[in-house]
């Protein structure tokens, strides 16, 4: 029990800095003292696991939660959850939330002057399958203004929350769309120094999963921390 196989730490610059002043909300919320490095213990290599009983199987289709169809461009967002060694992460919970096609969230804090859609709530969840695959049906979210700086607009995005096998693998991120002109100007997307890492947040147009006459496909793979090769010695 004293030999714990921990999870790998991120490669330099592939994760955001806590303080990124262009993202104004980080200025008073980012820690100012250095984080204390700690080894992974039994606490961090375990974590909550969610089974099929925690899941509504219909919740992977965000377009079928109301009596009518939501407005907007129907899309299929699918991909795999893998670790850094490309091993699939099966049966892990993914939660998503997003704005509607007009760029409005169903949330009391969102005061953007764009219409709510009575047929779109904007949340869903699913478990990955045996091969780490997942699939959501939704509508393409709209861009929306925010007050971070003059003429600030968030590029279209879908929020993803993923657990993985351990406390150490917990991830919350955002998926973007290819070719979005707003990405270049977005301080949240650009908070990560490494360009390749940033671009990993942009989904890829997916012919194979595009359904004729019905919905465009976008592919978004999610990579969670890999495992250390050898257990930590005491």
């Amino acid at each position: 029990m004293s030999n714990i196989r921990g999870y790998r730490r991120p490669a330099p610059e592939t994760q955001p800095q806590h303080l990124h002043p262009p993202y104004v909300s980080s200025i008073t919320r980012a820690p100012s003292k250095p984080l204390v490095h700690m080894p992974h213990t039994l606490t961090e290599v375990t974590g909550p696991l969610f089974g099929i009983e925690a899941v509504d199987v219909k919740a992977c289709d965000l377009t079928r939660q109301h009596s009518g169809e939501p407005l907007g461009e129907r899309i299929i967002v699918s991909g795999r959850v893998l670790d850094e060694d490309a091993r699939p992460i099966p049966h892990t919970l993914i939660e998503v939330w997003q704005a509607n096609a007009a760029g409005r969230y169903l949330h009391k804090v969102d005061q953007h002057d764009a219409p709510l859609d009575p047929n779109f709530t904007g949340c869903g969840h699913t478990l990955t399958d045996d091969e780490g695959r997942y699939r959501f049906v939704t509508i393409r979210p709209g861009a929306y203004p925010w007050r971070n700086h003059h003429n600030a607009w968030r590029p279209a995005h879908i929020h993803f929350s993923v657990f993985g096998p351990a406390f150490a693998t917990r991830l919350v991120t955002q998926m973007y769309f290819p070719g979005d002109a707003l990405l270049h100007f977005d301080p949240i997307f650009n908070c990560t120094a490494d360009e390749q890492a940033r671009n990993g947040l942009i989904s890829v147009f997916d012919w194979a999963n595009t359904i004729p006459d019905q919905a465009l496909g976008f592919r978004f793979d999610i990579i969670l921390n890999g495992r250390e090769a050898t257990p930590m010695e005491k």
């Binding site: 714990i4 806590h18 990124h20 980012a30 850094e84 930590m232």
Partner: protein, 188 residues
């Protein structure tokens, strides 16, 4: 072949749409044994202002020091009904409260037992990555030898230890994101 873990991004201000379904502020349930405790506190920013759009996730062992997870192969008791996971949103004043059992001690990296603790992830608008911290317990003999607490400079350890209140079993613990009294966060 080696990939890099996907870049983290903030939960933003609207996360309750997608995440409230799993909110869980009471981890007790039928058959859950142990010392019942509640922990209340607030999430505050660098100006001492409440953070109204934050969320905590907690992960803990049961009262016997066992995690409900296949990698915990200890022989001590794992009774059904206690998962050890909680998700707690804050109110408009940054306030939160949750109810659980005090976790038992679990093995540490130095072959000694770790002091009882609850692992915490903090998410909020403005945080591009979750912040990881721990809640320890007051007047706990194992704290003095705890491997992780001893990684922290002594004058900052108090930020990780919940305080007793006048009410038995009710503890108080705040998350201070930034500043002189900043909570210790771990690179984890």
């Amino acid at each position: 072949m080696s990939l890099h873990a996907t870049t983290s991004q903030t939960v933003g201000p609207f996360f309750t749409i997608g995440l409230r379904r799993l909110n869980k502020t009471n981890l007790l349930g039928p058959g859950v044994s142990g010392e019942k405790i509640s922990i209340e506190g607030r999430v505050l920013d660098g100006n001492g202002k409440p953070v109204p759009d934050a969320m905590l996730e907690i992960w803990q062992a049961n009262s016997h020091g066992r995690y409900a997870h296949p990698e915990d192969d200890q022989n001590n008791q794992l009774k059904p009904g206690f998962q050890g996971f909680g998700r707690i949103g804050v109110d408009e004043n940054g306030g939160f409260v949750f109810t659980t059992v005090k976790p038992g001690a679990v093995p540490g990296p130095d072959g000694k037992m770790q002091a009882p603790h609850i692992a915490v992830s903090v998410f909020a608008r403005g945080l591009q990555l979750r912040l990881v911290t721990r809640i320890y317990f007051p007047e706990e003999a194992l704290n003095a030898d705890d491997y992780v607490l001893n990684l922290v400079e002594p004058e900052r350890r108090a930020t990780l230890i919940a305080r007793r209140t006048a009410v038995a079993g009710a503890l108080q613990w705040n998350v201070i994101l930034q500043g002189v009294d900043e909570t210790v966060f771990f690179d984890c």
